[in-house]
Amino acid sequence: MKLRKNVAVSEAGLLFNPVTGESFSVNPIGIEILNLIREEKDPEQIGRIILNKYTTDQATFEKDYYDFIGILEHHNLLESHEETKA
């Protein structure tokens, strides 16, 4: 899964989709996860990094992570499977 190339992420956590003009604010862990997605880490790698760094468990991480991914997908911020293949 990849964040759309043209989506801008500021250090302060503002996402801007230049195609739709929509902006979203993301909390610090959200930015961290977005940066890991940009580095093309897979969900298992992201999970390991977050679990090593923060006091949480695998089940909570997975629930929150996939909720977050769902929101990104809902707002069309991730590349579709076809786009990723291309």
Binding site: N6, A8, F16, P18, V19, T20, G21, E22, S23
Partner: protein, 348 residues
């Protein structure tokens, strides 16, 4: 190098809650790199704020409403031209475009240039002709129907589902959720803007606008798409952001290429949840938010003036994406004498 100075007259000085584009157009002209300007404001009402913005408008003359007739307008423009030696006029209201288009040859003979759509382009893009326009140019438009009579309202539910949009021929649009509301908006809008009324299918989605400039030969001189971020209860953008949607730009280029549009314009678009674009309306003039285009690198009013003067204009190739405009209201303090001057003598 000293820049040439142009005398440009601009209408649409009503920078109110449903603002005319004049003040934004003048700001753009004041920032033009290819000329300096003397600005003559042309006003219809004594309380149009632009009249009193002396840092933007050098002098203002009242002009008659279009209903007074073309000859009355021409006589007034001749008088103003005698005083101000106008080079260019930029009309900014839909309702005044017809008389200005009709007067274009006469004004040109007087040495006054404009860059307006042709009468055919102006009529063809009219809201009442939107269905035909969409079919002719293969552009998706919402289904619409023109009605002249309140009695025909009862048959609408067989053709449209609720909600539906009730639109005036020039301005105003309301969303109706019942026949009673359709009737009420029909009466309200027709009392203000006359008949016909346009009933339009309601498209659920997000509103976008594109402003730009066509050279009359099918070329795109400028195009800037914008997403409305803050919309007033009159449906006007009070804040917006420039975006880079290729589909919108393609639709704009297609519109300009196929119609050979001449002049400034604003496309009102709706994008539904499947990403399909619908053209809701074509405004045949620059929009009130035109200063955003200047802010992102396309001084469209400047390019329009140069085209009006018959000069070659290089199309804009880029613009900044993600720049916002945020409109604000500002109370000016005005001496009563100024108000009297424009009200009684029609000049300030």
């Amino acid at each position: 190098m000293k820049k040439r100075k142009l005398n440009i007259a601009v209408t649409g000085l009503n920078a109110i809650d449903s603002p005319g584009p004049g003040v934004s157009v003048i700001r753009a002209l004041r920032e033009a790199s290819s000329f300096d300007v003397n600005i003559t404001g042309l006003s219809y009402e004594s309380l149009e704020p632009g009249i009193y913005m002396h840092d933007l408008v050098d002098r203002t003359y009242s002009i008659p409403y279009p209903a007074a007739g073309i000859d009355t307008l021409l006589a007034r423009l001749e008088y103003i031209h005698e005083k101000e030696k106008l080079d260019v006029i930029i009309p900014n209201f839909d309702a005044e475009l017809y008389p200005f288009i009709k007067l274009e040859p006469k004004l040109k003979a007087m040495g006054i240039h404009m860059f307006l759509p042709t009468l055919h382009q102006f009529e063809e893009r009219h809201k009442v002709n939107l269905n035909d326009f969409g079919r002719k140019y293969n552009i998706s438009v919402p289904k619409s129907k023109v009605i002249y009579d309140l009695n025909t309202v009862h048959s609408l539910p067989s053709e449209f589902s609720f909600p539906m949009i009730v639109k005036g021929k020039f301005y105003d649009a309301s969303i109706a959720y019942s026949i009673e509301q359709v009737k009420s908006y029909f009466n309200k809008i027709s009392a203000k803007w006359g008949l016909p009324i346009i009933i339009q299918e309601f498209i659920h989605g997000t509103e976008f606008n594109v402003t730009g400039l066509g050279d009359g030969k099918g070329n795109t001189i400028a195009a800037v798409p914008m997403r409305k971020q803050y919309i007033t209860d009159k449906g006007k953008a009070w804040g917006g952001i420039s975006i880079s949607d290729e589909k919108m730009l393609d639709m704009t280029r297609k519109f300009l290429k196929n119609t050979k549009w001449r002049g400034g314009f604003e496309l009102e678009l709706m994008k539904n949840k499947d990403g399909e674009l619908y053209l809701l309306e074509i405004n045949p003039r620059l929009p009130a938010w035109i200063y955003l285009a200047v802010g992102v690198g396309q001084n469209i009013p400047e390019a329009l003036v140069n085209l009006a003067l018959g000069e070659k204009v290089t199309p804009f190739a880029t613009y900044d994406v993600g720049k916002m405009f945020i409109r604000y209201a500002w109370d000016m303090i005005v001496d009563r004498e100024e108000f009297e001057q424009i009200s009684i003598y029609g000049e300030l």
